[in-house]
């Protein structure tokens, strides 16, 4: 993956620039929403990427519990932090869209609440990894269990607009078809691909960062123990 880091980063920049160009400059305003529809080109891809990144965390957690590979644990830790960032940004951009459209920054809508719960789950996961446990093996195992339990929220987020009466509009792209015009679909797809590539790029960097940090700690610890041993010997 490390070798393809540049490709992911470059691809993300290209897709996001093309998506931003079509979304902000060339696509027409929506008949009912007007210019506000342009917020959708960042809000929806951010939300999709947040859900995708949590799916990566879920898959990685299952894999870690099965194989106990430290690299996978690092990757899960990295995915959780990035997923929390994307979830938070999706909530904020959604709130900015809601103010001129619904005349409120926040409403207790099932989609919004279930998405906020996802952020709380990720917050809990990161707190567990940061503050609670000193044993890395145990930390990885407990965190994986939390991530797997938290995955219950994902179908709730996805189907909330169908299970309950909500203010939030239903899926525009589903197995039933595409409910938006090509002019609006193009920037949406470009931004979605761009944010997904950006997530992979960030995941590689953050996994590398966590690995190097732990390596440095381990090496420093070992060197210090050598120093202590040699001092004790003399």
């Amino acid at each position: 993956m490390q070798r393809f880091k540049g490709w992911f980063g470059g691809g993300a920049v290209l897709c996001l620039m093309a998506g931003g160009y079509t979304g902000l400059l060339t696509s027409p305003p929506d008949y009912y929403q007007g210019e506000i529809v342009r917020i959708m080109y960042v809000h929806v891809p951010l939300a999709h990427t947040a859900l995708f990144s949590y799916s990566v965390l879920f898959g990685g957690s299952l894999w870690y519990l099965w194989k106990h590979e430290p690299f996978i644990d690092n990757m899960c830790h990295a995915a959780a932090g990035i997923s929390a960032l994307f979830t938070l940004l999706a909530l904020i951009t959604g709130s900015i869209w809601a103010k001129p459209t619904w005349n409120t920054w926040w409403t207790w809508d099932p989609r919004l609440v279930s998405f906020a719960v996802l952020l709380l789950i990720l917050g809990g996961y990161l707190m567990l990894r940061t503050f609670l446990i000193d044993d890395p093996e145990k930390e990885g195992r407990y965190a994986a269990v939390v991530a797997i339990i938290g995955f219950i929220d994902l179908p709730i987020v996805h189907f909330s607009v169908e299970w309950w009466r909500t203010l939030h509009q239903p899926q525009s792209i589903s197995t039933r078809g595409v409910a938006i015009s090509d002019d609006l679909l193009l920037p949406l797809m470009l931004m979605s691909i761009g944010f997904t590539l950006l997530f992979v790029y960030m995941l590689i960097i953050r996994t590398q960062l966590l690995y190097l940090t732990s390596l440095l700690h381990a090496k420093k610890g070992r060197l210090l123990s050598h120093v202590h041993l040699s001092q004790a010997g003399s």
Partner: protein, 170 residues
């Protein structure tokens, strides 16, 4: 580290070009002028956009045929509008709208041929800033930290291989 900062400078320049293009589009196609200056600016710039609320009780005409007359108010300022264009579905009393047209100084009315929704471009711009700025900042500091960690590991010779463990090979 120089290559790293050069790459990020490139990203910064690209972003600034993008911001400039978006600002140009906003200025040319979405920006509205205040009602009190419409009489001056409309003559010199041709078609302009004005924004205000349709005054209650002032709306008359045949909306289905795309003809309407009403007063547009913004604070203490009021301008008489004569609309002639496509049938406007969003034109209602007490609704804030954008009218596109020009000032007729002889009849002292604003002749509008098109109607638009309130752009709310501040919301759009802030959503994009909120979406991209934190991500860029996070990536910048993560990448920088990775490079610094690599350097630290190299310089402090922490990367040296560990001493072989004494395991009997017999």
């Amino acid at each position: 580290m120089t290559g790293f900062y050069v790459r990020w400078f490139g990203v910064f320049i690209l972003s600034m070009v993008f911001v400039f293009l978006v600002d140009q589009r906003y200025t040319h196609t979405l920006k509205t002028i205040p009602l009190k200056t419409v009489r001056i600016q409309s003559g010199s710039h041709g078609s302009v956009r004005i924004m205000g609320m349709v005054k209650s009780g002032s709306l008359h005409g045949n909306l289905e045929e795309g003809r309407a007359a009403f007063e547009l108010v913004d604070g203490a300022e009021a301008v008489r509008i004569l609309y002639n264009g496509l049938p406007p579905e969003n034109l209602r009393e007490l609704k804030t709208v954008v009218m596109i047209g020009r000032w007729d100084s002889e009849a002292r009315v604003f002749r509008a041929h098109e109607m638009g929704l309130v752009p709310h471009f501040g919301f759009v711009a802030s959503a994009y800033v909120v979406a991209f700025l934190p991500i860029m900042v996070v990536i910048f500091f993560m990448s920088r930290k990775v490079m610094l960690l690599f350097q630290e590991i190299k310089q402090s010779k922490l990367y040296e291989p560990e001493a072989p463990s004494h395991v009997d090979k017999g």
